[in-house]
């Protein structure tokens, strides 16, 4: 018997007009955590979808557990022991944890009745064996995302998984929750289960992955033990650039105050948010997921109501009750979730980019000017180098990074004075990240002010002029980039320390 749980060899796959994979290899040993890295569009998802049966390969062989297999459909891949945990959880939200373990094959106590005792005790045992403190009677929708993910993993273990695939599993988790996940992964590994781990967070790759395979533009680049390489080498193999260079750009903060937020409070969500935003400044906002930072931004943008406090725009009190008013004032929002908040997925790239422009580019506000619509779309496709087959392509079919660029284009087309970016680099590849950082520099050089929300510390510290730190809805302090260290910000964010950050002391 071989040591490998799965060997994929010379896998090729084409879609109409695109060669997604050519001769890609990926072999995972039993009890190995194997990282799969590459930019978006490098072919990671396609490779995984071939393995799970969502796509059919055009050429190549798959040997699973010593036998050559044809993975015809997702059902087959599950039946031989391949399970995938995606960032969007695929559980039945309105059913209990226990029921989700047995979907479609509930144990029966008689020909017509479900053996509920068995359902809950079995599920409970599996959860307990993983040290997970989850009540099997709970409905999935009432669990936090992290726990839902854990349930999905526990379910896969119950179904005797031999190979588990994690696709960006930490994207929606807080640091603590991620730690819990890493522990479970270590456990799966010790039980001899093979693991494929896809993540854009390279520090995770180095923390607990044994081997890493790099893909680029649908081609296999290299496989190596993680101990023989480092982040810089990986990134240069993926894109050919170093990460610190990406953050290094000129700052353009001026003294003029563009936005003043005073004692902004929404009961039970956030309290006493208080800061100024200057012209050309990048104001970072750091907080863990669930700290209330997104709600703060949505309130400033008029998308949710706040109870107390005031907002002034260029010194004038701004009454913003609807996103429409914010947009008219000159705000642009790149929301946290581009798929559910940013994009009309079934519509074209052109329509999405022009979404805020249609009134303006219409004669008498009625008849849209086709030529202007096309010009705006084309200019942004070129300016942000959006990779799309055409301006009429449906946004749903673009890669994550390119979708994000469409959202950004939509906002920029409106020539905003203040741009709010909420986790703009989550789930997108290194290349697109770099382009977003470059764009930040360009925007601020032109006098736009930016609020940049992120839960990835090196990034926030790297790009921001100042950083507002939020913890559990409270503003813990404002840190200047010169005094910003990861440790200092983490101490503020975790509530260990609080500086007198309510007052903006430092001069520009």
């Amino acid at each position: 018997m071989s040591d490998y749980i799965v060997e994929m060899k010379n896998i090729s796959k084409s879609f109409p007009g695109v060669r997604a994979l050519s001769n890609v290899d990926l072999s995972v040993k039993k009890g190995e955590v194997h990282a799969l890295v590459g930019e978006n569009g490098a072919g990671k998802s396609t490779l995984i979808k071939i393995l799970t049966g969502a796509y059919q390969k055009d050429a190549g062989t798959i040997i699973f557990d010593g036998k050559e297999v044809e993975v015809k459909n997702p059902h087959f891949s599950k039946s031989i022991g391949i399970h995938a945990v995606y960032q969007d959880i695929t559980l039945a939200m309105h059913l209990s944890v226990g029921e989700n373990f047995f979907l479609g094959e509930l144990p029966m106590s008689s020909p017509f009745t479900v053996d509920w005792k068995n359902v809950y005790s079995t599920a409970g045992d599996v959860l307990a064996s993983l040290d997970l403190n989850i009540d099997p009677h709970m409905l999935i929708k009432n669990l936090p995302v992290a726990k839902q993910e854990m349930v999905a993993i526990a379910k896969a273990i119950y179904e005797k998984s031999k190979l588990m695939i994690f696709d960006e599993p930490t994207a929606l988790l807080t640091n603590e929750e991620s730690e819990e996940l890493f522990k479970i992964i270590a456990r799966l590994k010790s039980e001899g289960i093979g693991i494929i781990y896809i993540s854009h967070r390279l520090e995770e790759v180095f923390r607990f992955c044994d081997t890493v395979t790099i893909l680029k533009d649908g081609r296999y680049i290299a496989t190596m033990p993680t101990k023989d390489t480092n982040e810089d080498e990986l990134i240069s193999l993926m894109v050919g650039r170093k990460i610190e260079e990406m953050y290094y750009f000129e700052h353009h903060k001026e003294s003029e105050v563009v936005l003043s937020v005073r004692d902004l409070t929404k009961k039970k969500v956030f309290q006493g948010i208080h800061f100024d935003l200057h012209k050309g400044e990048i104001l970072g906002m750091f907080g863990l997921v669930g700290s209330g930072r997104t709600d703060i931004m949505l309130s400033i943008f008029g998308a949710t109501k706040y109870d107390e406090g005031s907002i002034a725009f260029f010194g004038k009190p701004a009454k913003v009750h609807k996103p429409r008013q914010a947009i008219e004032l000159g705000f642009g929002l790149v929301p946290e979730n581009r798929r559910t908040q940013g994009l009309a997925l079934p519509l074209s790239v052109k329509t999405n980019i022009n979404l805020l422009q249609y009134k303006k580019i219409s004669r008498f506000g009625i008849a849209i000017s086709r030529s202007q619509e096309l010009n705006i779309a084309k200019s942004f496709i070129q300016e942000l180098s959006i990779k799309t087959p055409s301006e009429d392509a449906i946004v749903r079919n673009l890669s994550g990074g390119n979708q994000q660029k469409v959202v950004i284009s939509k906002c920029l087309a409106n020539r905003p004075k203040i741009m709010i970016f909420d986790e703009p680099t989550v789930g997108i590849d290194v290349g697109s990240k770099e382009e977003i950082y470059k764009l930040l520099e360009k925007l601020t050089r032109e006098g736009t002010s930016v609020i940049f929300i992120s839960s990835y510390l090196p990034e926030v510290i790297g790009v921001s002029d100042r950083i507002v730190v939020i913890s559990e809805g409270r503003q813990m302090g404002i840190v200047d980039r010169r005094g910003a260290t990861e440790e200092r910000i983490m101490r503020l964010a975790s509530g260990i320390e609080e500086n007198s950050g309510k007052i903006e002391s430092e001069a520009v």
Partner: protein, 324 residues
């Protein structure tokens, strides 16, 4: 730009694909027409065709408004009742001495208002469109029976009755009205910011809200226009049948929905075109007309009609599944 080449080939492919959806329908229609021309005596006669076009026009007008609602991710079950309501209202107004023009205008406006009430229920009341319009369907039908005492209204002014029989440049007047409304709604959906907003709301209402689209206004207008179209159809119907009929328009919502989905509209929103709906309306009407000419049992025709609806949506889903 290095991506120039694929841009062209892809957009060509896209165009070919578009032709495929509406082209398939056109082809189907052509095949039907040729078949009926060969196998029946009466199909390709001026009399039959103008009759066919007249009947299609009334259902077709209703389907135009329905298309807007469906693209926005909603549904309007009340249109059949609004058809009946406007048909009775215009008859009552004329009987009570209101000039024809004014009676028509008032009926159309009131139908529009009735539609916007659906919009209010959907937007402000957050009632699912299916439920909201199911309710108004029953309410309006009840109102018709009350104001008409469930009796036919006859003895309408001659110029009003003549309208449905008139032709312009050889085309039946009802068809001309439909044609104008088709052009109007194509313009609305393809060329105006309003049209884009309808598609955006249909694809994702949260995205629409964060993009500053006035969802309240747009929703009112969508349902208002659906009511307006149904109102116009009701007036045309009364003119054609020469009487205000309390049960008129019953079941028209089903024909309208069927036209939309045969024409490629998706009940999950953001998909569908006016042209597709027009084809869908023609296919339904031609099948019915042809079936009569061939002497097929109307009950069997009803079954065929149902099969066509299911088959059209199945083919559409199949096509989409194999698109990626």
């Amino acid at each position: 730009m290095k991506s120039q080449q694929p841009v062209n080939s892809e957009s060509k492919e896209k165009k070919r694909f578009k032709l495929k959806t509406e082209g398939t329908l056109a082809l189907l229609l052509l095949v039907l027409a040729v078949f009926l021309t060969i196998f029946t005596k009466g199909f390709l006669t001026g009399n039959n065709l103008s009759n066919l076009v007249r009947q299609t026009a009334i259902n077709g007008v209703v389907a135009l408004g329905m298309t807007l609602v469906i693209i926005a991710g909603g549904i309007d079950l009340s249109v059949g009742s609004v058809v009946g309501f406007a048909g009775i209202l215009v008859a009552l107004l004329m009987k009570s001495g209101v000039p024809i023009g004014l009676a028509v205008l008032a009926s159309v406006l009131i139908s529009f208002l009735v539609g916007t009430i659906n919009g209010v229920m959907v937007f402000d009341g957050r009632i699912p469109p299916f439920i909201a319009t199911l309710g108004s369907m029953a309410i309006i039908r009840g109102a018709i029976m009350l104001i008409s005492n469930a009796r036919m209204i006859a003895g309408l002014p001659k110029p009003f009755l003549d309208f449905a029989q008139t032709t312009y440049l050889g085309f039946p007047s009802l068809f001309v009205v439909w044609l104008i409304l088709i052009l109007f709604t194509i313009f609305l959906t393809k060329k105006t910011p309003f049209g884009r907003n309808v598609y955006t709301i249909g694809s994702n209402i949260e995205v629409a809200r964060l993009s500053g689209i006035n969802i309240r206004f747009t929703t009112y207008m969508i349902y208002g226009l659906s009511g307006l179209m149904a109102g116009i159809a009701g007036i045309l119907m009364t003119s054609r049948l020469a009487n205000g009929i309390p049960t008129g328009g019953q079941g028209y919502e089903m024909d309208a929905i069927a036209s939309c989905v045969i024409g490629g509209a998706s009940l999950s929103g953001a998909e569908g075109t006016i042209l597709g709906t027009v084809m869908g309306a023609f296919i339904i009407a031609t099948l019915r007309n042809g079936g009569n000419l061939l002497g097929i049992d109307p009950f069997i025709l009803q079954i065929v009609n149902g099969v066509i609806i299911v088959a059209a949506v199945y083919i559409d889903q199949y096509r989409k599944a194999h698109q990626k």
